[in-house]
Symmetry: C3
Subunit: 267 residues, 3 copies
Amino acid sequence: MDVLQAVSQTLDQVKAKKPLIHQLTNFVTVNDCANVTLALGASPVMTSDPAEVEEMVSFASALVLNIGTLNGQLVESMILAGRKAAAIGVPVIFDPVGVGATALRSAAAERIIREIPLAVIRGNMSEIKTLAGINEGIRGVDSTAGQEQGEAVAQSLSKRLGCVVAITGPVDIIAQGDAVRHIENGHPLLASVTGTGCMSTALTGCCCGVANPFIGAIAGIAVMGVAGEIAQQSLKENEGLGTFRVRLIDAIGNMTTQIIQKYAKIR
Amino acid sequence: MDVLQAVSQTLDQVKAKKPLIHQLTNFVTVNDCANVTLALGASPVMTSDPAEVEEMVSFASALVLNIGTLNGQLVESMILAGRKAAAIGVPVIFDPVGVGATALRSAAAERIIREIPLAVIRGNMSEIKTLAGINEGIRGVDSTAGQEQGEAVAQSLSKRLGCVVAITGPVDIIAQGDAVRHIENGHPLLASVTGTGCMSTALTGCCCGVANPFIGAIAGIAVMGVAGEIAQQSLKENEGLGTFRVRLIDAIGNMTTQIIQKYAKIR
Amino acid sequence: MDVLQAVSQTLDQVKAKKPLIHQLTNFVTVNDCANVTLALGASPVMTSDPAEVEEMVSFASALVLNIGTLNGQLVESMILAGRKAAAIGVPVIFDPVGVGATALRSAAAERIIREIPLAVIRGNMSEIKTLAGINEGIRGVDSTAGQEQGEAVAQSLSKRLGCVVAITGPVDIIAQGDAVRHIENGHPLLASVTGTGCMSTALTGCCCGVANPFIGAIAGIAVMGVAGEIAQQSLKENEGLGTFRVRLIDAIGNMTTQIIQKYAKIR
């Protein structure tokens, strides 16, 4: 089965199985993450209190950890939920938002990587390079190095951690060990709406709830890229970022395997 | 006065009196709850710090408690605000989101029911059946039982707690003791947008700020159902969940007594 | 250079420099504040944990403090971030949401004013009058006094605190000592969407990241007023508050110096 068929099957499975996706995420984009989860056909639960995350994740098909607005208690909740998920075979998807910017974020990311077996890490080029540096015990990895280095970094980090590593950007890179896929969808407007990275991670969580992590990451990220293109193409005169964001949810909710097979550029 | 006239009068009163509705709610849908409150003509305040909730609720016309994203401090704030509300005659509307899913939620709901005199409880079938079980000291009430049992459960819980009990679903059931009303509005798309249940509770809060709890719950839930129908009917080709959510707020903001009298199916 | 030219230059500079705007704000409107920041061309970071705010603000071009949903820890974070900002010359913009409503808010506002050198305070008439009263040690300033008193209050508070004071309302008043500007843009619908005040403060933060506080406040508030007019004028039959809010973001994202120079009524 080729990758496009596997992605299509994954989207069909999300709609058929409606997996529960437990997301410990930031308070800026939490509503958007819940809405894209519903739009794809899955079911979101966003609770993060340490007193209930272990119980809640036991009903879930995937767990998403996003450190966009971190605090000490939230890290504890992430560790509790992550360990429980690992113990019962629920895949964990990690979004290291802003890692490297502060000591708190780097320490949290380091702890999550060390203590929780991850299925997928999804970040931008700078975040993934920073993670690679943390993991090697080297600070100050050059986060401005070009796209061409991204593939090597993603493969290397993937092998070391034994998980899928996805770098999203103008061309997305998804690596599982030596295997690599590139996705050439999306639109620059996506960078001007808050939370589109978080939403990609949420969609990846939905897909990992019904497919293996490599296909799950490819599917989730491809859906966001194709939806971004459809949303941008729909804009009429005087419409802009507010309308783009609404149409993005429209496009995710209206995504079909036909649309993915027509527009997704996965190689 | 028949129920439709009472509902119409309630909507007029919300616009005339602009009641302040204090809402201790979850961080996923809090923005939507504030916006539907404003759209109906009321005024929202969403503060939840234990240091100020008693002072704040003393200015309010209704208090909404929603346990969607619970934590220990928030439960304390809910108890403080709820006791103060009860002491000064401010009606309390309770939304037991996800009760039964975790021990934390069940314990919080039990404490709220025991310690605060409620005006209205609004939940889905599963939540209300779980509450009925908690209240009887019985765990594991069958939450999958059909719609036909809902009416009996709502009436029974209403009598036991002395408050209005509203179950929303394909057909909404609102019970005050033996008195029961059914609302046959709404659209399945409402279940694919996060927070539409929370928004129904917020609208119920607005209406309970100017009317008795039975009419308040009927009015708030009827507005959401009719707005859902109007929003769905407005969708054009390629529009979907994002646009539906925007039009839902449009429809709530544009709701008139004429529209309610034409479309509301309350029996 | 006249004020309109200075405002135009400020908007161009925001797009050219993409300043990072650190915002410690409320959980109701945080997503909207991030989105208007991006729409204007700046870059938002909304983290508020005391363990990282000092480090984060050191990368920022402006700091926004908004007490809409206050709690004890958030006040500590605001003090930490504010002191660091002051120490390194990052301008601090303060939005005293709901000050006067509770003792917690008044105490927090008093402490922020006393401990942090502010660049701009932006609030509504009632909030600014309350602040003026707190600052004079007088409680119970008449917050219902008319617009005509606003100018004197803004000038007086500006002189006493040595910062720009902006009162937004039907006619906005921006004072820096004796210098005062009025802006006659905006639309009443802005008051029916949650967070438009918070968004004005966020836009002011963006502009203060590249301009002096007086021009920054005028520019940020003028953009919101003009965008409100454009959004309202775009509404078609049956469209309402939901669509208005979307078009508001559209208009902020599509704002040009030509549009500002054509529509802004600054005197």
